[in-house]
C-alpha cells in the first residue's frame, strides 16, 4: 500500500514535470524599428501569438531607426540582443560577416515556400540556406493623381509628354531623382544595374550613361522638379502639383487621411525609349533569429507565425504592409486595399537588392555621380567612370596581415621609458616634499580621474586600437599601420585630390576658423550687450537668444536644410524678394559651405553667449567703477579691464569650442551632407562615411579618428600652454 502510494506520488510528479515545460513562463524578445500602423499591427500579432501559446510572453521593443543597426551589432554578440529582430534582407551579407544571424531552420520550412512571393524567398536565401521569414515588401511604384492624369500610362513617356498640357507649376512627375535607389528603375529600363549578382559595381557603360542623360533631359524640360527630397515629393503630390510621383508604400502612410483626391497606385510603366519595363529594387523586411534565439523552438515558431497567413492578414489590414503572400491578396477581406495590392504586384516584378557588402558600398559613389550629372558638372560617362573608381577604392582588398611584434616592441619601449622617467623624477631632490605637498590636492581630484579614465579614456583608447585592424569585427586582421599609411598617402591618389586627407583637412581648418570667429564674436557682442545695467527686456532677449540651443539640433539642422532648398526654400524666397537670382545652395562648394556655417553659427552662438554672460557676472563691479572714476572710456574699459578678466573663463571655452567645431559631425552631415560631391565634408564626417557607408571599414575610420586626435593635440599645444600659464598669473 505504502509502496503504491509512493509510486503514485512519483508518477504524479513525473507528469507535472513533463507538463511543466509547456506551461512554464517563456520570454521571447523581438526588436524592430517600425512606428505608427506597422508597429500597432506587430503588437496585435504578438498578442495573438501569446494568446495561442499560454505561458509565452513576447516582448516587442521599438528602436529608433538611426540607432537600430548599431544597437544590433553591439548587443547581439554579447547575448544582450533579442531572440528575433526585423530588418531589411540586404543586411544578410553584413550580418553573416559579424555572425549575428543563424539559418532559420524550421521557422521557414520547405513546405511554407510556396505560400510566399518568389522574389521574397530569393531575397532571404543566402548560399542555399534561408535566414529569415519575409514579412513585407518595400519597393517603389507610381502614384497617380486622377485629376491630372486619368489614364494608366503604359509608358513613362506618355506621362512625361504631359509637360506642356498641365497647368503652370504642375509637374508631370516627381521623385527623388538624385538618389540611386530611385534611379535604379530608370537604369533597369536601359538594361543596366547598380551592381551585379556578386555585388560588383556595374553602374557604367552605355545603358547607365543613357539613363542619366534621360533623367537630365527630364530635368531640363521641367518634367521633374529640382532637388526633390522625399518631403517635397509628398508636398507636391498632396497639393496637386505633381500628376504622378514615384515612391514606396511609406508614402501611403504619410499621405494618410490628408489627401483630398482618390489617388491610384500602379506598378511602374515601361520605357518607350527601350521598350523595357522599369524594374524597381526590392527590399524585403524579414524576421531574423539570433544565435541565442535559433536554438529555441518557440522563437522559431514565432518567426514562422509572424510570416504566416493569419498574421500577414493583420499586418496588411492594420499595418498597411505589402505582405509577400500572393494568395492573401485574393482574399475578399483585402479587396478594398487596391493601392496596397498594386504594390504587391509591383514587388513581384521587382529585383531583390543584392545582399552583399558591394551593394552597400555602391550607394555613395552612385549618388554622387547622379548628382554631378544632373547639376551639369560632368558628362555621364566621366561621372560614372569616377564612381566606379571610388567603388573600387572603397572595396579594395584588406591590407596584408602584419606581425604584431613591432607593436609589442613599441609598447614595451613606451612603458619602459615611462618607468624610467618616473624613477628619475622620484629620485630628484625635493620630490618627496613635492609629493607630500601634492597629497591634499589628490583628495580633490581622485574621483574625477577615476571616472574619466574608466568611462572616457578607456573607450577612446580601445577605439584607437581598432585602427590597427581591418576586416569585420568577427574576424579582425591585424594590419599594423597599413590604415594610416593608406590615409596619409591618399591611397595612391593625388595628395590634394578628391576626398584626400589633406584636402579634407584644409576644409576642416577653414570650417573651424570661420565658425569659432563667428561664435566668439557674436557671443561677446551679445553677452556684453545683455549685461548692460538697467537693460529693459533683458529677460526676454536672453530667453529668445538661448532658443537655438534649447531645441534639439537634429531637428533644427533639418529646418535649416529646408530653408536652403533650391525652389521652395526661404533663402531663395528672400533673394527673389531682393531681386536677385535664386541660388542652388548645395551645388557649389562656397554656398554649401556657407549654408553649413550659417547653421552651425546659429546653433553655437548661444553657448558662447552664456559663457560670456557667466564670466561677466564674476567680474567685480568695483574694478570697473574704479576704471570709470579714473576716466577710462567705455571702449578702454572693455579692452583693458573686462577682456583681460574674461580671458581665464573665455579661453578654455574658445579652445574647447574650436575642438568641438573641428569634430562637428552633425551639421555637416544633416545640412549639406558633404554636397557637392563630398567637398564640404570635414575629417570627422569623412571618418563616419568610412565606418558606416563604405563597406564598414571601422579600422580605417578609427585611424582617421586617431589622426584627428594627433592633429588637434599638436595644434592645441600652443593654446594648451597658454591655458596652463594662467596658473602663474
Amino acid at each position: 500500500m505504502r509502496g503504491r502510494s509512493w509510486a503514485l506520488v512519483a508518477a504524479f510528479w513525473a507528469v507535472v514535470m513533463l507538463a511543466m515545460p509547456a506551461h512554464a513562463e517563456e520570454h521571447v524578445v523581438l526588436w524592430h524599428a517600425y512606428r505608427g500602423d506597422e508597429e500597432r499591427a506587430l503588437s496585435l500579432v504578438a498578442k495573438r501569438f501569446e494568446a495561442e501559446h499560454p505561458g509565452v510572453t513576447v516582448e516587442v521593443l521599438a528602436i529608433p531607426f538611426e540607432a537600430y543597426a548599431a544597437k544590433l551589432t553591439a548587443a547581439i554578440p554579447r547575448a544582450h540582443g533579442p531572440d528575433l529582430f526585423i530588418q531589411a534582407h540586404q543586411w544578410i551579407g553584413a550580418y553573416l560577416g559579424e555572425k549575428l544571424i543563424e539559418p532559420i531552420g524550421d521557422g521557414f520550412p520547405d513546405a511554407d515556400v510556396a505560400g510566399f512571393d518568389e522574389p521574397a524567398v530569393k531575397a532571404v536565401t543566402w548560399a542555399g540556406a534561408r535566414y529569415a521569414v519575409p514579412l513585407a515588401n518595400k519597393c517603389v511604384a507610381l502614384y497617380l493623381n486622377p485629376n491630372l492624369e486619368p489614364r494608366s500610362p503604359v509608358t513613362l513617356e506618355e506621362l512625361t509628354g504631359l509637360v506642356g498640357s498641365l497647368p503652370r507649376g504642375v509637374y508631370p512627375l516627381a521623385y527623388s531623382a538624385d538618389n540611386s535607389y530611385y534611379h535604379a528603375p530608370f537604369l533597369g529600363g536601359f538594361g543596366g544595374a547598380l551592381v551585379d549578382a556578386d555585388g560588383t559595381f556595374t553602374f557604367f557603360g552605355e545603358g547607365a550613361a543613357r539613363s542619366l542623360s534621360f533623367v537630365k533631359d527630364m530635368l531640363a524640360r521641367h518634367v521633374i522638379p529640382e532637388e526633390p527630397s522625399g518631403a517635397l515629393v509628398k508636398e507636391l503630390f498632396l497639393s496637386g502639383r505633381a500628376a504622378a510621383v514615384i515612391d514606396g508604400p511609406w508614402l501611403m502612410a504619410d499621405l494618410g487621411k490628408d489627401v483630398s483626391f482618390p489617388y491610384r497606385v500602379e506598378p511602374l510603366p515601361k520605357l518607350a525609349a527601350t521598350g523595357r519595363p522599369m524594374r524597381p529594387l526590392l527590399t524585403v523586411e524579414a524576421v531574423f533569429v539570433t544565435h541565442g534565439g535559433a536554438t529555441r523552438p518557440t522563437v522559431r515558431e514565432l518567426a514562422r507565425w509572424l510570416g504566416g497567413a493569419e498574421a500577414a492578414m493583420t499586418r496588411a489590414k492594420v499595418g498597411q504592409q505589402v505582405v509577400p503572400r500572393p494568395a492573401l491578396w485574393n482574399d475578399p477581406a483585402l479587396a478594398g486595399l487596391t493601392n496596397l495590392r498594386a504594390f504587391a504586384d509591383a514587388a513581384r516584378g521587382a529585383e531583390p537588392m543584392v545582399a552583399s557588402r558591394g551593394m552597400q558600398a555602391a550607394w555613395e559613389p552612385a549618388n554622387q555621380a547622379i548628382k554631378k550629372v544632373l547639376r551639369g558638372d560632368q558628362e555621364p560617362a566621366a561621372a560614372l567612370e569616377e564612381a566606379r573608381r571610388r567603388w573600387v577604392d572603397a572595396t579594395r582588398p584588406l591590407p596584408p596581415e602584419a606581425s604584431p611584434f613591432p607593436l609589442f616592441v613599441v609598447f614595451g619601449a613606451g612603458i619602459l621609458t615611462l618607468a624610467l622617467l618616473a624613477v628619475k623624477r622620484a629620485t630628484q631632490a625635493g620630490f618627496r616634499r613635492d609629493l607630500r605637498a601634492s597629497l591634499p590636492a589628490y583628495a580633490y581630484v581622485t574621483h574625477a580621474v577615476l571616472a574619466i579614465l574608466a568611462l572616457v579614456v578607456f573607450p577612446l583608447a580601445a577605439g584607437a586600437l581598432t585602427s590597427l585592424f581591418a576586416g569585420t569585427r568577427d574576424a579582425p586582421r591585424y594590419v599594423g599601420l597599413a590604415n594610416y599609411v593608406a590615409i596619409v598617402t591618399a591611397r595612391g591618389g593625388a595628395l590634394l585630390g578628391h576626398g584626400s586627407f589633406y584636402l579634407t583637412l584644409l576644409v576642416t581648418l577653414l570650417w573651424t576658423v570661420v565658425n569659432v570667429f563667428f561664435h566668439v564674436g557674436l557671443g561677446l557682442v551679445l553677452g556684453v550687450a545683455l549685461s548692460r545695467p538697467l537693460m529693459r527686456l533683458r529677460a526676454v532677449y536672453r530667453v529668445l537668444l538661448i532658443l537655438p540651443w534649447a531645441v534639439p539640433s537634429y531637428v533644427t539642422a533639418l529646418a535649416w536644410k529646408g530653408m536652403f532648398q533650391r525652389q521652395f526654400g526661404a533663402m531663395n524666397a528672400l533673394l527673389r524678394l531682393l531681386g536677385a537670382e535664386p541660388v542652388s545652395w548645395f551645388s557649389h562648394f562656397s554656398t554649401a559651405f556657407a549654408a553649413n556655417v550659417a547653421t552651425n553659427v546659429w546653433l553655437g552662438f548661444p553657448f558662447m553667449m552664456v559663457v560670456v554672460l557667466g564670466a561677466l557676472t564674476s567680474i567685480p563691479k568695483d574694478v570697473l567703477e574704479a576704471a570709470e572714476v579714473d576716466g577710462a572710456t567705455r571702449a578702454q574699459r572693455f579692452r583693458l579691464v573686462t577682456l583681460p578678466l574674461l580671458k581665464p573663463v573665455l579661453l578654455p571655452a574658445v579652445v574647447l569650442g574650436a575642438v568641438w567645431t573641428f569634430n562637428m559631425f552633425n551639421v555637416v552631415f544633416l545640412v549639406s551632407g558633404g554636397e557637392p560631391d563630398g567637398t564640404t565634408d570635414i575629417l570627422v564626417s569623412e571618418a563616419y562615411r568610412w565606418a558606416f557607408t563604405r563597406d564598414n571599414q571601422y579600422g580605417y575610420a578609427a585611424a582617421y579618428a586617431v589622426l584627428i586626435f594627433l592633429l588637434l593635440a599638436g595644434g592645441s599645444r600652443f593654446f594648451g600652454r597658454r591655458l596652463t600659464q594662467e596658473e602663474s598669473r
Binding site: A70, A231, K234, P440, L455, V456, R473, P552, A559, I619
Partner: protein, 280 residues
Amino acid sequence: MKRLEALLAHALLVAACAFAVYPLLWVITLALSPTGPGAEARLLPIVSAPSLENFRTVVGWGSSGATLLFLRQLANSLIVSLATAVVAIAIATPAAYALARFSFIGAKPGLRALLATQMFPTVASAVPLYLLLDALHLLDSRAGLVLVYASTAVPFAIFQLRGSFLAIPVDIEEAAMVDGASRARAFFLVVLPAARPAIAVTALFAFMSAWNEFILAATLLSRKSAYTLPVVIQSYVQEQSTSWGPFAAAAILVSVPVMALFYVAQRQLVSGLTQGGVKG
C-alpha cells in the same frame, strides 16, 4: 548719447533675436500643420489650418496607456539629465578647485590630458563603452546612462569651473582660513557660494548634453519604459520617410523644460550680478 547707445543695443539684440527665432518658426509651422508645411516658396512661415494634432500624437492623447508611457519617458529624461548635472558637478567642482588653487605633481599633464579627451572623435568608442557597461552590469539602467553622460561632461565642466575659480580672488579664502576655517571649510563656505553663477551655468551645460542625447540612450537602454525622450523623438525618423509633424512637435515639447531651466539659471546669473558676486 546714452539714449543712442541704448537704442543701438536694442536694435542689435532685436536683430539677433530675429536670427535666433526665424528658423524655429519653421519648426513650429511643421508642428502645427497636420498636413505638412506645403511646398510654397515663402519668406514667412504661415500655418493655413493650425492644429494640435501632432502634439496629441506625441503625448498619446486619448489613450491613457500611451500618455502614461510618455510621462514616464519624460520623467526618465528629467531624472537622467538632472542626475547627470548633479553627478558631473559633484565630480568636477573639487577637481577644478584643486587645479585652480593647488600646484601638485600631475596637474599640468592632467589638464593637458583633460583637453585631449575632447579631441578624440567618438566614432569607434561605442562598442568598448558597451562592453564596459556590460562588465559593470550597468546596461539597460538609468544609473549606467548617468555615469556615462556625467563622465563625458566632466572634462568641460572642470575647465569651465577652473576658469571661474581662477577669477575669484584668493584673498577671500585666505581670510577665512586666517579666521580658523580649514581648507575644505573655506571651499564649501566661501568659494562655492562665490562661484555659484558659474556652477549654475556649468550644470546647465551638463544637463543639456544629457537632455538631447539619443544614440547612446537607444543603444544602452532596452525597455520602452526606460527610454528617454530623445529616443522617442528619433523614432519618428524612418529610413525612407520622416513624420515631420510629430518630429517637430516632440522637439518643441522637449525644449520647453530646458527653457524653464534656463529661466531659473538666469535668475542665478542675475543674482550673482547684483550681489557683486565675489567681494567677500
